[in-house]
């Protein structure tokens, strides 16, 4: 059974600081996704990582994938309050378009 684990589960940080969220998974896969969820809202796709060594950046967020280590990271640079949300990673081991298994989520709070 595929397991996807994130850490930390809760992260409180000050504006302007840097931090990294980690996502480990238990089965070989070269497809990993990051989603953002604001309180009471749906999940919004942030990044799609499709190969070993893939790196994607959008604003203050950068995601990377190491398929050999079965590890993805979401790095936050110079955090701002608007980044406060819950971040989920998800892994896909089937054919494209098939089921995703989600991590527990990391609840990020950025304090002024």
């Amino acid at each position: 059974e595929l397991k996807v684990e994130q850490n930390p589960l809760f992260l409180s940080m000050q504006e302007g600081k840097n931090y990294t969220i980690y996502c480990n998974y238990s089965t070989t896969s070269d497809r990993l996704y990051w989603y953002r969820q604001d309180p009471g809202k749906s999940l919004e796709s942030l990044f799609v990582l499709l190969s070993n060594g893939a790196v994607k950046q959008e604003g203050r967020l950068m995601a990377s994938l190491d398929t050999k280590a079965r590890l993805s990271t979401l790095h936050i640079t110079a955090a701002v309050h608007d980044l406060s949300a819950t971040y989920f990673c998800a892994v896909d081991i089937g054919a494209s378009g098939s089921r995703l298994t989600f991590g527990e989520g990391t609840q990020l709070t950025v304090n002024p």
Binding site: S45, V48, F88, G97, L100, T101
Partner: protein
């Protein structure tokens, strides 16, 4: 495109009542997923369809839950009888084979009292 459309947005019902959640996927998407989100269990896959056929419903309590997709543009998730432990946010998502990742609907917040 209006995205994945779910209804209702909120549902409050009494224990024992039947509840039906509805989902309209994005046009052209051939995969449809039903997830349940709770604080304790996180995001759990209940069932998913490919071209209207059930591919995996192992996450769905089959004694009270049923899912259908009578056509490519509509799916339902029915709970009968509902129980307080079914209280959760239910998300529908759709995707297209050959594409990657899902598009999620806004969710239905179900409260069973």
């Amino acid at each position: 495109d209006a995205g994945v459309i779910q209804s209702p947005r909120h549902e409050v019902t009494e224990m024992g009542q039947e509840v039906t959640l509805r989902c309209k996927p994005i046009s052209g998407h051939d995969y449809l997923f039903w997830y349940r989100q709770t604080m304790m269990q996180g995001l759990e896959l209940l069932v998913y369809f490919n071209n209207k056929a059930v591919m995996d419903d192992s996450g769905m309590p089959k004694d009270r839950f049923s899912a259908k997709m009578p056509n490519a543009s509509f799916s339902t998730l029915k709970i009968q009888p509902s129980e307080p432990r079914d209280s959760a946010v239910y998300f529908c998502a759709s995707s297209f084979a050959g594409d990657y990742g899902y598009t999620f609907g806004s969710g239905t917040r179900l409260t069973v009292v």
